[in-house]
Every structure is written in C-alpha cells, then in structure tokens.
Amino acid sequence: MKQDLVIVGAGPAGMGAAIEARRAGLSVLVLDEQSAPGGQIYRQVERVTLTETARADRLGPDYAHGAALVREFRDSGAEYLPGAMVWQIEAGKVWYLSGDRAASADAGQILMATGAIERPMTRKGWTLPGVMSAGGVQILLKSSGMIPGADTVLAGSGPLLYLIAGQILAAGGRLQAIVETVPSSRYLAAARHLPAALGTGYLSKGLAMLMGLRRKGVQIYRGVSDLEVTGRDRAEALHFRHKGQAVTLTTSLVVLHEGVIPNQQITRLTECAHDWNPAQDCFEPRTDDWGNASVPGLMIAGDGAGIGGAWAAEAGGRLAGLEAARAAGRIDTTTRDAQAAPLRARLNALIRGRGFLEVLYAPSAPVPKDDATIVCRCEEITAGQIREAVAIGGLGPNQVKSYLRCGMGPCQGRMCGPVVTAIIAEERGVSPDAIGYFRIRPPLKPIPLAAIANAEPGDG
C-alpha cells in the first residue's frame, strides 16, 4: 500500500512530523532502526519512565518531555515499524529490512529524520579499547544503568560533555577529570553572543552543571591541546599539554566528545545537495524553511538537516509534517502557515542562543597532526597515508577511498568521512566545500546478502 508520507527515524523530528501529518489526515509510516520510539535523545524513554522512575528523574526534565512526545506519537495513528533498517531510497520507494526480510514501501513523500552523529574525534590512540564516545557512555548509562569507573576522564568540548558528567555524578558515579580542548581565546570570542544566549537558558544550565562538578572533586583542565591516548591493548593513560606543561592522567576509560554533526549518510545516498557550514564546521543538506531537500519528493528534518538540538528538531519535524500535508493537498497554504507560526516562534528563540555555543565549542583540531593517527578505523588507514594519497594526485575523498580503501569498511565512511575531507582540504589549501564528500552507495548499512538476493519489491 502506498503511504502519503514515509518517515525514516523516530526521534523528535520524525515523531513531530508524524504527529502533524497525521493530524492533517495523511497516512504515515515511520521506519525506525531502534526498538522503540525516541531516537538517541529520548532513547528507550518509555521503558525508563514506566519502570524506573528514579532513573527518569535523574535524566532530567528534557527526558520527561520526551516521554510526553512519544505518547503523542503513539496516539497519532501513524504506523510505527521498529527494528526497520532502511537500506535504499529511490524515487517514491523506501527499501528496508525488517528482521531478516527485505521489504519496500511506496511513498508520496519521504522524510529523512536520522539525526546527528558525534563528530569523529580523531586523536592518536582513539581506536584503543577503553576509548569511547561521550554519546556511547551516555547510552550505557541511559539504557543499561551502567556507571563508568572513578578513573574515567572526559575529554574534548561541547555541552554534551558537561551534561554527561552531570548525569554520571547524579547516578552516584565519580569522575577523575574533564579535559577541555576549548582554547581560552574562544571564551572571549563567544562572549559577544552572550546577551542572546542568556535569554535562552543554555548558559545557566551550563554553569549549574559546571559548579556541581567542581564540588564533587572532578579535576577540570581547560585550554588543553595535543591529546593522545596510550596503552598496549587497552587505554592506560591520557596525555595532553596544559598551560605549557605535559600532563599524563592514568585512566582506563577516556570519553571523547567534540560536538555533533548531521548524519549525512542518508542524504548523501539520495544525492541531496549539501553545503558547508563554516560556523559548525560540517556539511549540511540544503533545505528550504519547510525541510524540502534539493531532490523532489524528499524532505529532511531535525539534526540531520542541521544541528539544533532536540527541541529545534521537534519543531522542524512538525513544520515538515505540515508541509507534507500541504504538498499532499490535505491543507492549504494559509492553514499551514497559521499552524506553523507558533512553531517558527519557538525555533527562532532556540536559534538565538546557539551562536554562543557554536563559537565556544567549534572543534579545535579536526585534522590530526600526527601522521601515525588512524583516521579510518575499519581499514586502519592513517592520516599520513591519506596525505600521501593527496600528494600523488588524489584530488578528492572518492579518489582517496579508491586508492586506500579508506571509508570502504563496514562503517561505510561514517567515522572517517569528515576527517578525510578536512585533511584533503588542508593539504590542497581549499575549502571543504570544494572538496566534497564520499559518494555514499547502498546499502545504507551493511545487510545480509540473502535478504537482497531474495528481495521482492512491495513486500511491505
């Protein structure tokens, strides 16, 4: 059966879009790789709120809002298919894997709401066991109630680093240190965005978190550089430079974070146009104010369209849902605009505060200096090998990929793509915009050969 709207992803944007589109009477199918709605930000929010009130409280009021949003989504009448891994999108058709079976859904419009990924924090030693991303540690905490050991060090930059520190402490855990890579000059540069930020609550939230950490004995190092993790078969120490001194912290868990960027895998797969966002140092798919992508019939909402956080993603998703209803002829433009007005007002308020964060937490060193640093974790390709491939004439990411197999492993370039572009841009002295990105080919994620071999269109 053909759906008016097929949505990929059930985070705040996907759920918001589904709710609004359903309200306008569209048939909606939501394909979600996760086992329950919520996306990464409200991951397993239903189970946590239902069964473990104490943990939900600890995870804060934003999580409670997520629970309400999921309830609204569940009640919307949208068809929700959990455990559905989308592997290909063609004009008007979404192919996915449900269990071990390939199926497809025909769609009037397709909304891609697959969110953000953490910016790969490519540092020497980051492939060692005992080095994890902050998002990964947060998932362990949120979904499995796992509290890391007291020797844990958080390193990098971005608000999530402090949020997670706060969550670990609130759960009764301890931390050795937070090692912040933000150069001190950044705080001055960011200060001009302060008046806007003060009105939004971003800053007060941040300061409250910081003070809590100091009280609990967490060492805080600011303005550090030259991060490196060492160890034989696992992380044993984190080294860095702080105020001109070499510092070594003995630790068995280094948690890295340097902000989030749109997960461009699906929007590259569908050949949507992307633009470089220099303020956030990442590519963003090109969309209009309603989430329409450059490819007709495709829409993008949420952090996958540009980083704005959960509240902005939800508002963007609702706007896209309204626009999908308009495009399907269920509501007229006037109705759409009227319903969109409060959502736009909310979005604008959210965006005001972000200039401060963007400047403060811009990634400090996306390109690894040391040639021995592994960039492509799957194929174990180093920064030096990539530089050499550029030196012998590899003009762009796809040439480097063909030459080195960099980005051809199981992660399909997710972990090395942004850094490969950055290295080539730096070596050639041009902007990342001119360099572009890996061509992403199906399947969107590795899937069983047998499923494709036996796939019949329309099995949905």
Binding site: S133, G145, I147, P148, R234, S252, R414, M415
Partner: protein
Amino acid sequence: MSFTRTPTAARSVQFSFDGMPVQAREGDSVAAALLAAGIDRFRTTPKQGKPRLPYCMMGICFDCLLEIDGEANRQGCMVEVRDGMQVRRQDQSREVRL
C-alpha cells in the same frame, strides 16, 4: 575500564560469549551486556590484528561487530540480548590462504 550498575527491577537474561555463560539485564544491547561483564575485546582488526571494543554504541562505528547466533558482522550495540543467545568474538586477523 569497569562499570557498576544501578539497581534495577529488570529481569535477568542468560547468554553465552565464546561458550562462557554471561548474565545480562533484559533490555541490554549485546554490546552493553558484554561491556558490563568486563569483556576486554569484541574483535580483532582484519589488517593489524588489534583488539577493539565498542566506541559509539549507536550504530555508527561498527567496532562492536560480533558473531551472533552464527551470523558474523552483526552490530552488538543494535541487537538486544536474549536468553540463550550465542555470541562469539570476531577474530578477523587469521591467516589468509592464497
């Protein structure tokens, strides 16, 4: 690296890792359950034979690849652990016959 776990009412789940019994909580991903159990290596890399553990836990990094119920190259962080599941380490550095 070690984790302590918050108290829970969740049901306990039994599965095996390389034939050894492991206890997990219902709702854990296979990757989380193995990290909680203190497993120090999920796989070794095909080229250099280096040990790896999960990095992102959200389906992006593919460093949590495991053999689950006989099927290789599955993302441990995306699969919920079930009673009786047989999970194996993925050693990809073995000699290649030519």
